[in-house]
């Protein structure tokens, strides 16, 4: 099994433990769905927008028979899925490409290295790390930031999911954002 797959498995397992309501199967399907939506959004050439993506995904899913407590609950789950997809991708691409036993770097890969978004990758991975750090200090803030940043949820939606007031979510958002930005420095 490759290093990459091992990573993925561990993350999925951790995710399942964190949210027992969500089966691994459902998680995988959501992952597929999010990827499909991403591709669609990209194809139509519009700007990338998490909120729109997550809403479209919900509509798409509405054709199936998933029973979610509310759309909001679904959005929150989707935020987690989005975070995993993006961070996975960033990790995969941040890994050195030519370790022992691999054939020499092909021109194609060189091209990728010349053009890709290494600073974005660094940012995303740092954001993720900061979020984990924040989660250790104050778990709710990690969830708030995750829903806002990776799921594009509005303040009111986050408040509904967490069962707290909107001013609390606003304060949490500001604190989480400042924490992450400070860590990124």
């Amino acid at each position: 099994m490759s290093e990459e797959n091992a990573d993925l498995g561990a993350e999925t397992a951790a995710f399942g433990a964190a949210d027992p309501a969500l089966s691994e199967q459902t998680y995988r399907e959501l992952r597929l769905l999010a990827r499909a939506q991403l591709r669609r959004q990209l194809k139509t050439g519009g700007t990338l927008n998490t909120t729109a993506l997550v809403h479209e995904a919900y509509l798409k899913l509405g054709e199936g028979q998933h029973s979610w407590a509310s759309p909001t609950h679904f959005y929150a789950t989707m935020a987690k899925v989005m975070r995993h997809i993006l961070i996975d991708a960033a990790r995969r691409r941040a890994r050195p490409k030519h370790g022992a036993g691999r054939p020499p770097v092909a021109m194609q890969e060189l091209k990728v290295e010349l053009t890709d978004a290494s600073s974005e990758i660094v940012d995303l991975l740092a954001i993720d790390a900061a979020l984990r750090e924040l989660g250790k200090l104050e778990p709710r803030l990690e969830r708030v930031a995750e829903m806002r940043f990776f799921g594009g949820l509005e303040v009111a939606d986050v408040a509904e999911v967490l069962g707290v007031s909107t001013p609390t979510v606003k304060r949490d958002t500001a604190a989480a954002r400042a924490f992450i930005a400070a860590e990124l420095k």
Partner: protein, 843 residues
Amino acid sequence: MSSKLDASQWNLVRSWFDQLADAPLQDQQDTLAQASLEPLMQEKLERMLAAHRSQRFADDALAQAPELVAALTEEERVGEMLGAYELTELLGAGGMGEVYRAERREGDFAQTVAIKLLSVPLRELRLRFSQERQLLARLEHPSIARVIDGGKSADDVPYLVMEFVQGRPLDRYCEEEALSPRARVDLMLQVADAVAYAHRRLVVHRDIKPANVLVTNNGQVKLMDFGIAKLLDPEGRAEQTNLGLLTPAAAAPEQLLGQNSTTGTDVFQLGLLTYYLLTGRHPYLDDAQDLSALLEAMRQGVPKPMGRQRLGIRGSVRADLDAVLAKALRVDPDARYPSVEMLAEDLGRWRRGESVSARKLGWLGAAGRWTKRNRLLAGVSSAALLALVAGFGTALWQAREARTQLAIAEQNAARADRVAEFLVSVFGAANTFDTGGREPTASELLDQGIARIDQELAEEPAVAARLLITMGVTLRTQNQHERAAALLGKAVSLLRQELSDAPQLARALGELAWVEVYRDQLNAAADLLTEALALLPAEQTQIPLRAQLLQRRTVVYINLDLLEEAEQDGAASGQYYRSLGNEGLDGLASLESLRATIAREQGKLPVARTRFVAALDARRQRLGPDHHLVALMLNNLATVDYELGDYASAVAGFEQAIEVNTAYFGVADHWQHYSPWIGLARTLRQAGRFDESLAALDTTIEITRKHRGDEHWATLQARATKAELLWLLGRPEQALRAQEDITEKLRLDSNWLCLAVALEHLDRWHNAPQARHSLPEGACAVGENLPSLSQLRPMLLLAMTQSDNERRRWQQRLADHPDPLVTHFRRSVLPSATSANGRGAPR
């Protein structure tokens, strides 16, 4: 982030932050000054407040990382393993899922496949998936992309592993190759044959459209995605097509109406595709409109005749084709052809100029059917049949010769007659039962003939042997070397038992030897030919056979690098051919070319030149000025001129070869154009005409790409040559573009270095060391002698990145080098290579 807060420290920081976040800056600073927090907390709080003020960092992950997301969706699964396969490239994505190129990574053999990931969650089709997969895997037909394997990915996406097909969509292929209507119908006949085959195995396609029919560069049709439409349907509606997956313009009416799909659906779609290929439009609508307009038009019930379209087909012939397509395109499935086979049969009849069943059979029509048998002989004009008839001719010719030898004359003539009779019976009794009522193809006729030799000619081994030889030669011309060897081997053993007919045995051995040459068994071929020659009687008879056997052994010896022996055989064969007068001229021409090749291999260039001139004259005399074999001789002659250093003659020769090929083939980029173009490019380069050489290389690359694809060594070699030329001309940007991905593929050490230096030159230092590391030890070492450009190349390029002094030394060392490109490099490129210097690049 050297030290981190603990939870209680965080609580404090958090409460201060909440309190101060929206306060004016001055208040924040005053309060913090009085709070006297621990330094760690103080610093964290200050940084959080600063970040809060500047509001830097976007709200949206996707907006934050647009390039990553783009790359993510592009290369989503590239690098993932599915079973034994590694996904290497996303080929396309559509409603049904994604298709990747993939390489087999387990087992001993390399294999490129296409993997289709179906975009429906496995849960929905789990029940049917493995069953359908097995059904699909059993479809084995040259025109159907094979399903090799299948399974589900780690995240439960079902996938199919399929034959990797490199080709163009049918409609694009027809346009780009500017195919005639008849040629387009021929392609559709291939498609229909494949669909009929699948129907016999109970698989319906249901999604026949241009994008699902690929045509490879050698004209082989490949039907993709068999059975996938059904597989993707939700359970319980197994025979209905999911509207969401349909391309309405390619759908049959029953699909648009959500009714059951049957084999009749494929009949409709085949008709539709044929119609579209011939006219460029839909039979019911002028252009693709919405679903309801399409349904409304179909309710009218009759497709528009192709009448006024630019078909290039006139009168009743066009009316026949209209009738065939109208019958296939009926809205009511029951009114269409009852099977794809019958549609194909009618299309085939139209193609052969016979009357079609879709039109009422009048008196003339009946007469047409009556003569069908005879037309079959004239109409099946494939190479196989021609070869068969040619082989038949040889047998007769040999019978004629035999008549001069009284003893065996009558017997042989009788055998030849028997051979002729048998061949006629193979055609005459064309067994349509085995082919399901369809006219058999030439190769099916051949198979039937082979089967009957055993059954019917057991008592007549001599006749059987002659037929086996004929059939074997035919199979060889079709590149079926294994089967050809089997039949010819059988002929040899029959004739060995007979003992009476030594020349016939010699002939069988000669043909078997030739197959062995194709199978690369050169030593076996040499032995067989030697045995054959020894069988011939001492007196000078069987002259044509002798000449041919010796000529073949010449070829074998050349390939075994036994040049002395080759020269002897070649000379002897030439004498025999000469003694035959006019009949020997073709043989003589090809022999002269062989003998020229021998001389060239031996390094006797002037002799080679004289012989190629003789071969060229002989070819021209027999074939006229514009024949591809004449062009070949021109090309070979020019190559020798090039090697002799006579560049002016070589350029003229290659150009003439190109002209002749263009005249002969009617196009300027036939594969036969490759040799003279690459030769011309090389000659121009040696002559110092670099820009013309570049242009010739571009043409060469176009030709190799078109005929052999991007991956073929000829393409890669031509591109590498171009890249090298550009580098040494001091155009690194262009060179890098020309180089692209060929470095890895060609695995040339010098190319790695070229890449490294070009990257350095282009200020991409961080990549250059990687390329440099892939160099073998010592490739950069500078020797004292500088004999050739190929050895010089890496050093020359390195020189470009070195100091002024170093480069001046290089200029001196290169002063006497004979290669014009090196001279150019020394004079023009090296002195101006300053841009690569003075950047303190890491070594």
